[in-house]
């Protein structure tokens, strides 16, 4: 991400900034493990969503889990660990990140 | 009044030397003077000898150094004179006003003072009589006005009355007692013949 650095005259007064700008910052390249979402097995319990530290569980407009936001996902694997689905019908599985 | 008149008050912590200095300056200001009033500050507590000071002038006062040669010294508690040199820095033509039942001559003898003018007034007795408690600082104001001639007596009484009325709005007897004490001290303060 090559974002032009602001000069001091371009800064908001008083060391302030609009909230939420970190959304522009990608942390997806931190991953070595990658969660894969299997929609057909998802029971929409939202445990993955509740425990994801990176707000990286994607929901659709009906608030159903639809996938992982790889822009932010750091691959910690909490979503997989907390997913209560059975071994043979996992909604989230981890695999090695392919570069 | 051409120059600045400087006054020093001696008392014990809690006796109201600071209050007297502030009251007098406040009153003088109301009567058109430029003033300063300040206590001497230290870690002393109730009972320790303390000092407070006044400066009065018809012109703005800019200097902010301490007062070392006061023209007038007031002693709220005569027992202080045994340990504190209340005449320190007092010029030959200065005045010393002591709250005591003794005469100026007796005080002069006790202090072994060669010059300066000495005045006495039994402010404690007046205070007990008029206010009901031994708070000599208000009657001493009366004595100070008489001795110094710095302020107009009638105006001073009037101004003090107004201030006390504001402070003790619900206690008119306190106002009356204080004013009477000031008046009595004004009348009774005596100098050497």
């Amino acid at each position: 991400m090559a974002i032009k650095k602001m000069g001091w005259k371009e800064l908001m007064p008083g060391d302030a900034i609009s909230g939420g700008t970190a959304a522009e910052f990608e942390t997806g390249d931190w991953r070595s493990e990658k969660p894969i979402f299997h929609k057909e097995n998802c029971i929409n319990c939202y445990f993955c969503w509740a425990y994801c530290p990176d707000s990286a569980i994607l929901l659709d407009e009906n608030k159903k889990v639809v996938g992982i936001d790889y822009k932010y996902c750091k691959g910690c694997g909490i979503c997989d660990r907390e997913c209560p689905t059975k071994k043979e019908k996992r909604a989230i599985t981890m695999e090695t990140e392919r570069k | 009044m051409e120059k600045i008149v400087e006054i020093r008050w001696h008392g014990r912590g809690g006796q109201g030397a600071k209050t007297a200095a502030l009251l007098f300056a406040d009153c003088a200001m109301s009567l058109g003077k430029y003033i300063q009033a300040f206590p001497e500050y230290g870690p002393e507590r109730m009972g320790a000898p303390v000092q407070a000071f006044d400066r009065l002038s018809d012109h703005p006062i800019t200097l902010h150094c301490g007062i070392t040669n006061p023209q007038i010294v007031l002693v709220l508690d005569p027992t202080l004179m045994a340990t504190v040199d209340v005449t320190q820095g007092l010029p030959a033509d200065g005045s010393l006003i002591v709250n005591t039942s003794k005469s100026p001559q007796e005080i002069r003898k006790e202090l072994g003072l060669k010059n300066a003018k000495i005045y006495t007034v039994d402010a404690s007795a007046i205070s007990k009589d008029k206010i009901g408690r031994d708070i000599p600082n208000t009657p001493m104001l009366g004595a100070l006005v008489k001795v110094s001639g710095l302020l107009d007596y009638d105006q001073m009484i009037k101004d003090t009355e107004v201030k006390l009325e504001k402070k003790f709005a619900h206690k008119p007897e306190i106002v009356k007692g204080n004013i009477e004490a000031i008046k009595t001290a004004y009348d009774k303060v005596k100098g050497e013949k």
Partner: protein, 392 residues
Amino acid sequence: MPRIARTGNEAMAEAMRQINPHVVAAYPITPATEIVMIFAGFVANGVVDTQFVAVESEHSAMSACVGAAAAGCRVMTGTSSQGLQLMSEILPIASALALPIVLCEVNRALSGPINIHCDHSDTMAVRDFGWIQIFAENAQEAYDSVLQAVVIAENMQVRLPAMVTTDGFIISHCMERVEALEDAEVKKYVGEFKAVNSVLDVGKPLTMGCLDLQDYYFEHKMPIVESMKKAKDVILEVGLDFGKQFGREYGLVENYKMDDAEIAMVAMGSTCGTARVVVDELRGKGVKAGLLKVRAFRPFPAEEIKQSLSKLKSVAIMDRSDMFKNQGGQVFTEIRSAMYGGANSPILTNYIYGLGGREISLDDIRKIFAEQKKNAESGEVSQLIQHFGVRI
């Protein structure tokens, strides 16, 4: 205009009452305690609308002030000495966040040894934190300057916190005649507070106080540099306007009998008043003596001082604190730096004096002027820096 008899502390508290700030967060400390006490009385009696936060330390006082100011409020506090030092971690945060907090500071020596009396070491220790610093000579100036500080700090070109100082006990506890303004006049003079940012604006969520890495910290310091530049003009404008409105004019410095002076004293705070008396005396004797009072120490009025001093022969620069760097005190250091490169520079000598409330008398000042006279006549510096009046 009401004429009132007030100590420096009372005058500052009176100004605070009339300003009626939204929030005051403060902690008591000698000799500034009275400011807080008197103000707490105003709150208890409902004469101000202020939310008063009686915090558990000065650190929390300044922290709460920052919180309240970041929430879009007019905020004030008062402190002294150790209290100012305890706040000091938060002082540069207040300026970086561009929060126009106004602080009533009573100059008092720093521990150790512990001492409650006046010197300027506390205020000097926080001189480089992006706060405007105004030194008041007496209770009247303290009152007027607190009112002006609100207007200066809140000026959109400035938007910096400001402290107004009085000398501990000498002014803070000395009752003097003060010409006050009417409540309505003050209300009109300081006007409505205009917030730039507010964390209470939940509809427009801001993040304030970010972590800056090497790529932004420097940029975030520049607005303070710029604001301090503008603050010089604003202090002047506000001082002039105050004079027009209320008859007492103020500047960055005050030149007293300096026009044709050959020798002079430079001082800050209450000492200036005492020095005036000596200047008058010397003038009466035909000595061309003057006094330069430095009122604003931050921003530092280097140009104005240079202009005032460049035609003189010898100048005594008074510092009521030492920097312990073997090169004089803060005022001396600043002025020497300001004079560098000028065509005509007078002999500058430094007097570090009055530490811990040590008296500076008329005789002391006479002595210092006599030394200046000697310097002027001989063209030589007798002693560059002296710790005046200290026993050996």
